[in-house]
Point group: none
Chain length 403, copies 2
């Protein structure tokens, strides 16, 4: 926050092109003592060449010891301290599917669930119904009307949807309705302070009408809502950094957080690394900065699939020449956090980070891209919020501070 003031004063424009390539959950652990991590096990000749020519380091996403969620971890990579900028899950989810949340709107993330005759939850994800099944179900909710407010819903994926309520006098400080377990009914929306009472009451009315509309659905006959939140009004990328920035990401949440920071979210077809790099190529002349997000490293890590995560990393490496052919001036490759297959979850470990910038990087002694090499890299271990300023520095986009 305070630091953005300096970014705003120091940034200068030039024709450089910068790429931030994020492999979600990149950081890993060995499966056995002394063994390689996922990144170390992967055959990555192109990244290793970049490591040799560039400099390595480790980023700390939030604070040391703290395991990040994906939203805060990305905010940090974009330079926003997540302990200062608190963005709700509802806003992230809605923004991710292109539903704008303005100041005074209240957004939530919805999950369809299954309840029994007594109203107790039997499946928190409604049998993981497909997006195709969910679409007409969500359609039924669009006909609900409430006095004085409008409600917009949009499917995110499978059983997940975003809901945004708009009207006067709404505040978002409410508890989740998701009890986080089965065998009990969904909770009512409860205001945490008087200002949120109206929104809580209206959401409870909406839930009741929605349950009536869905009462004959075999699986998705109820819903839980969480992450009630409104527009956090974040400082914007073009203002802070002077960058016209493109987001190239497949998954809604990452598109959402990119939109919130003022990136322009891009549509493209396909979902493989080469598809994302092709999108960057097509947009190359229009933007200064490209955020490219690879999701599946994290998914494989969460599945405990070490070899699968290795394969995803290798598929990124194989496609990398397409990106390098564009001749970026600065390319940073990192993750938003660690997701070691051994832990099957996000973790607190620092994240391997590679900085490549032919004109300006100070090369270190490291020659491969991996956790142990990054721990000894020339960039040191540093807060993820410093990565963007470092990229701008390497792009000669920050003026001298003082005379």
């Amino acid at each position: 926050m305070a630091d953005f003031k300096w970014m705003e004063e120091l940034h200068q424009k030039n024709g450089t092109k910068m790429v931030l390539l994020v492999m979600d959950g990149l950081g890993g652990l060995p499966m056995t003592p002394g063994g390689p991590t996922e990144l170390e096990a992967a055959n990555t000749p192109h990244m290793d060449r970049l490591a040799k020519e560039g400099a390595l380091g480790q980023t700390v996403p939030i604070r040391r010891g703290i395991t990040p969620g994906s939203g805060p971890a990305h905010l940090a990579l974009f330079g926003y301290d997540p302990l200062h900028y608190d963005v709700g899950r509802g806003v992230l989810e809605a923004s991710g599917v292109g539903v704008h949340v303005h100041k005074g709107d209240v957004a939530a993330r919805g999950n369809f669930c299954t309840v029994d005759a007594d109203g107790n939850i039997t499946d928190r994800r409604a049998g993981r119904i497909s997006s195709e099944e969910a679409m007409p179900i969500l359609e039924k909710l669009k006909h609900i009307s409430l006095p004085g407010v409008s409600v917009e819903t949009k499917l995110v994926r499978e059983y997940r949807f975003a809901v945004v309520m708009r009207g006067d006098g709404l505040e978002s400080d409410m508890d989740d309705t998701d009890p986080q377990k089965t065998g009990v009914p969904p909770l009512p929306a409860v205001a945490n302070q008087p200002g949120s009472a109206r929104a809580a009451e209206l959401y409870n009315q909406w839930i009741q009408l929605a349950r009536e509309a869905l009462k004959d659905e075999p699986k998705a006959n109820a819903m839980t809502l969480r992450g009630f939140s409104t527009d956090p009004a974040l400082p914007q990328f073009p203002d802070i950094y002077g960058l016209r920035a493109a987001c190239i990401a497949v998954y809604p949440m990452y598109r959402g957080v990119s939109h919130l920071v003022g990136m322009e979210v891009q549509g493209f077809s396909g979902e493989h690394p080469e598809d994302e790099f092709a999108a960057a190529a097509r947009l190359w002349d229009e933007f200064d900065f490209f955020f490219i997000h690879i999701k599946k490293t994290d998914s494989k890590g969460e599945d405990g699939d070490f070899d699968g995560k290795v394969s995803i990393i290798e598929s990124v490496d194989q496609a990398l020449p397409d990106l390098l052919a564009l001749k970026p001036d600065v390319l940073a490759i990192t993750g938003d956090h660690s997701t070691p297959a051994r832990m099957k979850s996000h973790s607190f470990h620092p994240v391997p980070t590679l900085m490549w910038a032919p004109a300006t990087v100070r090369e270190d002694t490291q020659t491969i891209f991996g956790e142990r090499a990054c721990a000894q890299g020339g960039l040191g271990t540093f807060p993820a919020t410093d990565l963007l300023p470092m990229m701008l520095g390497h792009a000669n986009r920050l003026a001298k501070f003082g005379a």
Copy 2:
């Protein structure tokens, strides 16, 4: 401070056991260029094995370049930024000998000294009288009475004692009465602001009566007071971290600072590392977190006794199997600051730090516990205040931040 809010929100309980083993003044320097430091010279097969299995780093106790006192250095290790949490020496000293200091009390550290017929100090430590000699002298001060306040004194060790004044309208913002040199008289207590005037006046009355009571003592015929302070009301370990924490330390000051942060200070017999580890074993089921303090590494460093410091480190290593037999989930070994024998004093150098946690640590490439290895370790160089959160992370005691 702000971060404690997050610790309070994120901490979760589980059955893990954590040990923070502090060798006071652990960090050192080579006696000759290219030579080993004390820790590097010591034969430490057990710590070296832990270094190989775990990860190394360096902690910065206060800020880079700043030489820490023991009180602030321990506060930092416990996660409290000593530049924010200012705990007076008087409070530390009193707490260390079990004299509680409540809000509104004013504590000071006292030194007996020798003054000549003109009232000028000839020995600032009263000939370093023994505790046995000092005890009856201090007894004479217990009969002093002042209007409206009570005064409690307790011997710390040798010529040092703690004094606590209790009553209404007392504030602690006063200058030390220790002139820090001989050939001049002790200074009067002087209030730095109007609120402290009453306490300063009462302390000066107490000093006058004490000097009369001691006028026939050959050595301890006067005293200096410093570190006037009151209860800093620190956030407490169980609240911040959700930990029931035991302090196992021989020396009063360390017991005092542990008490102030909400640890439960333990009594035990003996003063060798194996005695302290035996105390941990006896208490193992009752606590989540064990702070174990080894004093003599610092004492030998202060004496300029390189070999003596090496021996103390080796004695800790030899006893370490007793601690490892308890199977801690997380064991951090570090110092509160550096005390290089070459400098015969505390120093500003960062402190070698070892993190061992079989289930969760990301092993680095280092294979021995020493300053040079720690400087290249996977944990990097980090503020000592991050160590506790890192230990909690490694113990899976912090929930994910954000979704």
